[in-house]
């Protein structure tokens, strides 16, 4: 062990640089994002595991339940299903934001960050951005899986890219929700357990897997008005284009243009972030202080 040479007075006092807040927010967020992405790179199982579950859902719905879910003569179930699967994938993926933050808190990492002269918000922004990047990666993988089981987009690649963009941005919004719950939980197991009951009904009481017209009235109303269905429906409209009603006269998609649905989907996304992000910051402060 060698000793570093220092002056007799010891380390010098540094004056606080209060200026660069914005550039620090950006550079610190990038540093934290990099930290999490490295973890995904180093533990690829994290990525693999986050695709196993959606793949099982694809197989389950495509081949088991799907055979009993008629959509319409013009639309195959797999084309109907995949946008729902994409949304489910990013929602389930967003839970890792909350679980990861709870883990960091348990290990004392959040406390260390709190004692550093870094930007306060960078920890949360870095984590949610890393999960956004991860979700993009997983959704691309899931697209490949979809193709393997017969999924095709019928409305051009531009619209498909728009569909995936809306979905990952929506997942980003849910990362903030998961952050609020995760930071409020005493440990990562509890975080996992607390986030799931929140995500689960939103995912399944929706039009993600089945059309809503067969649901009981109250459930149907909920399923048609909650944000997951709205985003799934927008995504589906991008993939399928216009779809004629079924033989029984049921609409497969909600009414409205793709552009209008995109707007509503983005509005929901923005609203969720606007509510969850300040709550997450508050939970972060409370967690460490």
């Amino acid at each position: 062990m060698t000793t570093v040479t220092t002056t007799v007075d010891g380390p010098a006092t540094r004056t606080a640089a209060h200026g660069n807040t914005l550039s620090w927010l950006v550079s610190d967020s990038i540093a934290v994002t990099g930290r999490y992405l490295k973890a995904y790179q180093r533990v690829p199982q994290l990525l693999v595991f986050s695709t196993i579950q959606p793949i099982m859902f694809v197989l389950l719905f495509r081949y088991v339940f799907g055979s009993a879910i008629p959509i319409s003569d013009d639309v195959s179930y797999v084309d109907y299903l995949m946008p729902g699967i994409f949304v489910q994938t990013v929602l389930f993926g967003s839970t890792s934001t909350g679980v990861g933050l709870a883990e960091d808190a348990g290990k004392g990492l959040l406390e260390r960050f709190q004692s550093l002269p870094m930007s306060r918000a960078a920890v949360l922004i870095g984590r949610t951005l890393a999960d956004l990047v991860r979700n993009i990666f997983v959704v691309i993988l899931m697209t490949a899986v979809g193709f393997a089981v017969g999924f095709r987009f019928h409305n051009g690649i531009g619209n498909f890219v728009l569909c995936l963009t809306l979905i990952v941005v929506f997942g980003f919004a849910f990362s903030w929700v998961a952050a609020v719950i995760g930071l409020g939980a005493p440990n990562s197991e509890a975080a996992q357990a607390a986030i799931f009951p929140f995500i689960f009904p939103l995912t399944f009481a929706s039009s993600a897997f089945v059309p809503t017209y067969g649901m009981p009235d109250a459930l149907r109303w909920f399923a048609e008005h909650q944000p997951v269905s709205i985003v799934v429906d927008a995504a589906r409209t991008f993939v399928l284009g216009t779809v004629p009603p079924t033989k029984d006269g049921h609409q497969v998609l909600l009414e409205g243009s793709a552009g209008g649905k995109l707007l509503v989907g983005l509005l929901w996304t923005a609203m969720i972030i606007a509510v969850a992000a300040p709550l997450a910051v508050r939970a972060y402060r409370r967690k460490t202080g």
Binding site: T3, R14, A16, L109
Partner: protein, 338 residues
């Protein structure tokens, strides 16, 4: 710079009904090691959390380098390093990556970050493991990495919250050596510990805290001398023999000044002395001259343990699980593990 590198005055912290700190005073001169000694739940970690800007105090003053931690936390964060009992390193990152991350987050000039990380890895004997994920590190290596992480931006003030809790004796010795080197460099260190041996070895001054208040303050030597000197305890086959021995020792003045305070308790004769080994020789010589043979002979040095016990009325090393449950969960602390 102000006279003190770290100062607390009447520092109070309440978590609802739990009173973690009830007005503690501390003052650490620059370049010194100051020990906060206390059982679990005494308020040590709470004090450190306030001084490192993690917690807001309920009342009182907390200063680092003369700056109020609540008024200019950014200045304080620029000038402190914190290494905790939970070894806050990212397990998935390598040692090198962990240090580089902290370098970036403390806004070191970019070209300096890599060099500083390498320098610390070398200094802490982690070069061979630099590119291994830190989850493969041993407990002692992890603590060293944690300590290195606290030093990346060369803070003049360092807070070590139970730096060796849970380490094996060899790793503890090793870490003590590292801390001593730091102090030699002029870093001011506030160290919390429940190990009296650790406080004794590292700290120049100590505050003993219990239930959120400072119950004693001074150098380890001062605290020990509060308890008096070394005691030589000689046992005899009967209280009669003990009585005769006491008389012989009083007559001869064998143990120096201590013979005045000689006490007989049953079969035992107790003599407070200044120099244990020397006194033992002269005591035995006197007894031998008088044909008295002791059955036992004991030299008791006062330890910080004795200080602690006499001050707090309970043992220092209380249940650690209670501490972890209290500090880890919600960053809150239960008071009074007694």
């Amino acid at each position: 710079m102000s006279e003190y590198a770290i100062r607390a005055e009447g520092l109070v912290k309440h978590f609802g009904d739990v009173h973690a700190l009830e007005g503690i005073d501390l003052a650490v001169r620059p370049g010194r090691v100051y020990g906060l000694l206390g059982p679990n739940g005494a308020g040590k970690t709470t004090a450190v959390r306030i001084l490192t800007t993690i917690l807001q105090p309920t009342g009182g003053l907390a200063e680092v380098l003369g700056v109020d931690v609540t008024k200019d936390p950014q200045f304080v964060r620029e000038n402190i390093g914190l290494a905790g009992q939970y070894a806050a390193v990212d397990e998935n990152l390598t040692g090198r990556e962990n240090l580089r991350l902290i370098g970036k987050l403390t806004h070191m000039p970019k070209p300096a970050v890599a060099g500083r990380a390498d320098e610390l890895l070398a200094r802490f004997g982690l070069e061979h493991a630099a590119d291994r994920p830190s989850k493969t590190y041993s407990g002692g290596m992890r603590r060293r990495l944690d300590l290195a992480a606290a030093l990346v931006h060369e803070p003049p003030v360092l807070f070590l919250d139970e730096p060796t809790t849970g380490l094996d004796p060899a790793s503890r010795q090793d870490l003590w050596g590292v801390i001593e080197e730091l102090v030699a460099d002029g870093t001011t260190v506030l160290l919390t510990t429940q190990y009296l041996e650790e406080a004794d070895r590292l700290a120049e001054r100590l505050a003993v805290i219990d239930s959120g208040t400072v119950i004693a303050e001074g150098t380890p030597h001062e605290l020990k001398s509060q308890l008096g000197a070394t005691v030589v305890e000689v046992g005899f086959p009967s209280s009669d023999a003990a009585g005769r021995a006491a008389d012989a020792l009083r007559r001869s003045g064998a143990a120096g000044a201590g013979t005045a305070e000689l006490r007989v308790e049953g079969h035992l004769v107790e003599l407070p002395v200044d120099d244990g080994p020397k006194a033992v020789v002269s005591i035995l010589r006197t007894l031998d001259d008088d044909g008295l043979s002791p059955t036992t002979i004991n030299v008791r040095e006062p330890s910080l343990d004795d200080v602690f016990l006499s001050l707090t009325g309970h043992k220092a090393e209380a249940d650690r699980d209670a501490e972890q449950a209290a500090t880890k969960g919600r960053g809150r602390k239960q008071r009074g593990a007694a």
